[in-house]
Symmetry: C3
């Protein structure tokens, strides 16, 4: 038993003794309180996940070169906006409303329920008006908000891999389709109650459904788009193109870690009972331990292999630890979270040079951190968490195949029509001057117009 006497000192009031009332019903959470708590959990955890959009923006801003920094900032705020609008217009309904095995409803827009509107527009909140609202368990739009920030996360992953050579508008059109159609359809299979959930596929907060989906879309795009000019030299030489601002990349990683408590914690989907609150605490702890293990593993392995600690690898180790634990952060033995996150951190150190060997140019390391670790985390649910290995593999393969295929078709269509890659001149000049006509840091460093 833990013992903490801060309260007696702090509050100046005798700590209330927790007694259960004689009547068990009086000791329980009332239905309306539960509704409020569940709703508030979606909102609080939702704003944390929304904040991850800033994390991706900073991580990517720090890992590109100065001449492409303003563009990556623009793309990140734009993709978050586009994702939110499209998920409102189409995506959410496709994913969650009346899902029939593989797809939900094509209804446009998504709004509060009639019962909610009746309550809000009444003079008085009578029991008759409150009851049907409360019965849903949470406010309808709070769930929308929480799910929306997830689709934005998937879109954010794509942005970093393709940085420094993709055109802005075609990229945003890809985001439109990804968030309106591709992500929601595969999401319906599991979280919408479709065929994968019935098969027993288990992905608590989205190692596969969010992170690998972003990773597959990014990988397909990287292959079709090609590497940055000069990245891969003759004879297998890989030219380093170091990120321009590592403190920003570090900040971005911390933001992601912070936001991940919302990502995983909120995916408990409820807070209104002792069981839910207890489970949520476990999720928080596993999330933190997985990330911490990813950091230490990536540091140690990069020291062992390269005789230096690589900061970028370490940051991606944190992310990989987080992605790895995302499929099963409800594991009740916390030691397993350390194992799972640590393996995730090692996978990054192994996968980054492997991608370079394949000449797949992933500017920020998103494919190792989100796709590879996402697959690992989803398998780990079967290995350590009692999940069904066949169901897990089926989910990984089915979602991977669908997203890769759909993304490839879309990338190729964009390439054939408006083109997806800037000209060689524009790439050398940098996207900031070419596409935006401005510089991210006009007074710093070389070649800036201010000097």
């Amino acid at each position: 038993m833990s013992f903490s006497n801060k309260i007696a000192i702090g509050a100046g009031v005798a700590a209330p003794i927790l007694v259960l009332a004689a009547d068990p019903a009086a000791a329980a959470v009332s239905a309306e309180t539960r509704y409020v708590l569940n709703t508030f959990s979606f909102l609080v955890h939702g704003f944390l996940v929304m904040w991850m959009a800033a994390g991706f923006a900073m991580l990517e801003s720090g890992l590109v070169r100065t001449k492409n920094t303003a563009t990556i900032c623009l793309k990140n705020i734009a993709l978050y906006s586009v994702a939110g609008l499209l998920y409102y217009a189409i995506g959410y309904s496709l994913m969650y409303v009346d899902v029939d095995q593989v797809i939900g409803s094509f209804s446009l827009l998504y709004n509060p329920s009639d019962a909610e509107l009746a309550l809000l527009n009444a003079e008085e909140a009578t029991d008759e008006l409150v009851a049907p609202v409360v019965e849903n368990g949470y406010a309808v739009m709070s769930d929308w908000f929480f799910q929306m920030v997830f689709v934005a996360t998937a879109a954010s992953i794509v942005s970093g891999t393709l940085a420094e050579r993709i055109k802005v508008w075609p990229f945003l059109i890809f985001v439109v389709v990804l968030t309106a159609v591709i992500y929601p359809i595969q999401g319906a299979w599991t979280w919408g109650g479709g065929w994968l959930s019935q098969l027993g596929f288990s992905d608590f907060a989205g190692s596969t459904i969010v992170h690998s989906v972003g990773g597959w879309a990014a990988l397909t795009g990287a292959i079709i788009l090609g590497a940055r000019r000069g990245k891969y030299g003759p004879g297998g030489r890989v030219n380093p193109m170091p990120g321009a601002n590592l403190p920003l990349a570090t900040l971005g990683t911390f933001i992601l870690w912070f936001g991940w408590f919302g990502f995983n914690g909120g995916s408990q989907l409820a807070l209104g009972s002792a069981a839910d609150a207890t489970a949520m605490a476990i999720v928080y702890v596993n999330t933190n331990l997985g990330a911490a293990a990813g950091v230490v593993a990536a540091m140690a392995l990069s020291q062992a292999i390269y005789k230096k600690i690589d900061l970028t690898m370490t940051l991606n180790g944190a992310i990989a630890g987080l992605v790895s634990i995302t499929a099963g952060p409800d594991l009740q033995n916390h030691l397993l979270a350390i194992v799972i996150g640590g393996v995730g951190g090692c996978l990054v150190v192994v996968a980054v040079p492997l991608l370079d060997k394949l000449k797949i140019d992933d500017v920020v390391g998103a494919i190792p951190a989100h796709l590879v670790a996402g697959i690992w985390g989803t398998l780990a649910v079967a290995i350590f968490g009692g999940g069904d290995l066949v169901a897990q593999i089926t989910g990984i393969v089915a979602i991977g195949a669908f997203v890769s295929l759909a993304s490839a078709v879309l990338w190729l269509a964009l390439k054939a029509t408006m083109g997806i890659r800037v000209s060689a001149e524009h790439e050398d000049l940098g996207l900031d001057m070419a596409e935006l006509g401005m510089e991210a840091y006009p007074e710093f460093g070389r070649g800036s117009r201010a000097i």
Copy 2:
């Protein structure tokens, strides 16, 4: 109906079935629970709004030139501090305590209620002690905290517009008066229950009462202070003075967006019932959609007009979308939030060059984003939300006239006494070396002492 089966997979416990107890009272939120939830809502949403102070600091740091960056950092942390101290000393009481149509109480300091102190200092929390506390609906100081971060927001808006040429101490004296007197008096008219609220003026979270107030104070200051040296050349030429660090400006915008869930969501002022939680979820969604629409509208319009996407304009589009939806984020049709935010984003693109034509030098674009969009959002409540147009216009004009007049008197008094503008030599040298004797980035770029 949305369907989500994450919980059954996640929690490992059968999802609790939400049944309403036979006795409706047992199903409702108890008075003490409601008190706790309302209080916690003020604290959580309050810390989000406090975080907006960092957002303004980063936005403005990114949009000024390097030689004035340390000064803008200093001004932002100082103004937040000054605002908090003065709102504690005088402001809150003037705005909320015993408001008599136009002004509240002149009592100094603001402290917990006697009932609260009696409860906290008791040996045991008896029903007799709890009841009078709970009756207030929320902890007295939680409301103070939430209102305090709003006044700080108004002060933050002024700082950006006047950057790069105003002296530090006179600026802070302006903040003293703004947060102790000017803001509270006009706030009393509506949120304190004064004459504007009785007229039916409606401003949910402060498009006018916070954002336009900051905007009017900034506009008055910009006119009296004059433009930066060299900003406007002969023949109507406008010399660009690009911001030195656009990733920081992007970060600042993301912080503001994140914090705005507190700004608008917390302005529901209660969380302790199904109706409040439902309304709060709607507010979150509208806030996000308004901002997203502002981004997309500003991007599209700047592309159409200038054939380039302007990142700064896009960031201000997000802010304008947020400001626009702030007067009516409780609209029950989310499509309207998209319309309102989108118009806000367009207004920025139009208003920025217009100010330049008038030779009003607004360094960060705060006047378009906060004042113009604030007026629009307040009108939109009447246009789309059923508010009274006459009341809305009355509120906009009355608050605008009062704040502009009071600010002008104050700026002119400061100008006549201690002076508000640094010397031409100091302006050319930069405020950092002139007023602080230090550089923000001593090792970067041109002219730094480190090179």
Copy 3:
């Protein structure tokens, strides 16, 4: 009485009238609701404190020179990770489990309680399963999470002082021992219910137990490690080595301030009653006022002494104000918070040059802000808050002696074995190239490989 009518306008529903039910039990917070609220408070406030790790990373990144920036980023994410792993493995049990006056249990790892696991793994949440869980007052792991982020804070403080010359791995080994053993043992004395708590030593959220502990470890390290090369010249000359990125330092300070609402607010340790919620609101307000007063005091004093406002001093003034109020943020007279924080801000301005006179090289000013202000804040509890002065002094001295001695032994052992300081060549080159083989800002400024 404060009056706010936002709700009537906003929600569109008549504001629920708060009536206490005839039956007092029905008006109170149920035991299960209290459990949920207490747990959620630990999680929300815990994530805020976790975010302080990013604050330290940014503060320190901004205050070191560019050539050591990537290393300080690495150390900050690594120390947070190491602290979490070790506090899980050993530290928490030593501090909180079965504490016998001076030390807790040596049991390894820390996991959910049997009662919690029984509830989570049941088919249905029966009263018999819920009751023993709820009796604990909060989810076991939520408390772990909240306490873990505190130990990480103590470790973060050490990192900044020793920047720019310490080797990475020995530093991390120090963090291992600090977070696994040193911090937990002294923490057990008070928060674990040991001898200091029985003596009446009072430290609400850790002015001494967290901040001074970090400060003593840093001070001991600074003395043993020695100053940076060239910092102190002949004749008492102090060579300024200005921080490379002051906006980042400002951001870091804002993050710390933001996170401190979790640090102090969460240390109420409960949210599930009117008394707790009321007390928590008071804590938030004092925290903010203490920081604000620290800022204004540091600004004014640095203006008076140096005729310039020093930004770095001002930022440390905020931190000192926060540290000062941390021992007693539950004071019921808010004016005292202003006094306590203001004195803290002044102490920074005095202590920084004093350390330089003693040739103790504290790169970021952590010793004045955390150690000196921590001692002051702990004394202030006796001076203003009714605490026992002898108990306070006993706590300060006992903890200071223990931590200094243990740290000194550890630093000397590390120095004798693997060495703690980089070579003079590596120090001149910068730790980033020497230890990491990379640069934080490869395209900016002088001497970078990109130019």
